[in-house]
């Protein structure tokens, strides 16, 4: 028994330094002092050590891992003010009922499949629509000028997005 125990100690002594070595640098941005304005889930990722991050990201298939890394890098490149704006908007989105959030994601999948120039037009139109009162919005959506600019799928997409993300109004 003593022999086994000694052997175990010897093995642990030999392999422990290997475990302590860093295992390569992560692709994600290094930790910086200014980490405020992160949604909680991203704050967790931000606060992880490089080893923890690697371990967490390794749980995703390679393609999804690359997307996460790219999106996080882009997010961290934003100025603190931009990040604050994103966080506020994200919190507003999180407060929506789950079905509404899921519907938004569904419509966004269609939106992402459009060519960049159509996405830009829709983005601009959505900004206008969100500022209208519900009655004005419905009237505008029925107007000929609106119908002339978009096809059926785009009109539907805009209608849904404007309803989901309508600017909150004071009572």
């Amino acid at each position: 028994m003593r022999t086994w125990f000694s052997l175990l100690i010897l093995i642990l002594w030999l392999v422990a330094p290997l475990a302590a070595q860093p295992r390569g640098k992560g692709i994600l941005p290094p930790r910086e002092k200014n980490a405020q304005a992160l949604p909680p889930a991203l704050e967790r990722l931000y606060n992880m050590s490089p080893e923890e991050r690697k371990r967490a990201l390794d749980r995703l298939p390679p393609r999804r891992r690359r997307v996460v890394e790219r999106q996080f890098q882009e997010y961290m490149k934003l100025s603190p003010e931009e990040r604050q704006a994103v966080r506020e908007r994200y919190e507003f989105f999180q407060a929506m009922p789950p079905e509404r959030r899921e519907r938004a994601r569904e419509v966004y999948r269609h939106f992402s499949a459009l060519p960049p120039e159509r996405r830009q037009v829709i983005r601009e139109e959505l900004a206008t629509l969100r500022h209208l009162r519900p009655v004005e919005r419905r009237e505008y959506l029925r107007s000929e000028s609106f119908a002339g600019k978009f096809d059926e799928q785009e009109r539907r997409m805009l209608f849904e997005l404007a309803e989901i993300f309508a600017r909150p109004r004071r009572p």
Partner: protein, 131 residues
């Protein structure tokens, strides 16, 4: 078309797409469809509550436990011998190889992935610009 609400009729056809055509000529069915709409609107009062946090984590823990049980079942008779071997192998793996990946932790990285994807959506739709 005979009124489906008459005795012996098939009232369920009022739930089919062509029902409005008949209802245009039948006051009784028109009333029924209007009432149906009102009833469905009343059901809208019952909106879902948010899912409590921790649901995913608890589920992944159950899945993990289930997986462990499934893996363990055929080896149970060899338990004493396996336990001794596991101590030695475990020590080596823990100190040199990557750490084990508990399924429960998938919940966390997925939440991060979902958050990033939602943030990307909000930015792509131009919703993060100041109002």
């Amino acid at each position: 078309m005979e009124c489906p609400l008459e005795m012996g009729g098939r009232p369920e056809i009022l739930l089919e797409p062509g029902a409005e055509r008949h209802a245009a000529e039948c006051a009784r069915c028109r009333d029924w469809l209007r009432n149906l709409e009102t009833t469905r609107q009343a059901l809208d009062l019952w909106q879902p509550e948010p899912v409590r946090p921790g649901f995913d984590r608890a589920l992944w823990q159950r899945i993990e436990a289930e997986e462990a049980r499934r893996w363990w079942r055929p080896w149970r008779p060899l338990a004493p011998a396996l336990a001794a071997a596991a101590v030695l192998v475990g020590a080596v793996i823990l100190s040199s190889g990557p750490e084990p990946r508990p399924l429960a932790e998938f919940a966390e990285i997925e939440q991060i992935e979902q958050t990033l994807s939602d943030v990307q959506m909000l930015r792509d739709l131009g919703l993060t610009q100041p109002l």
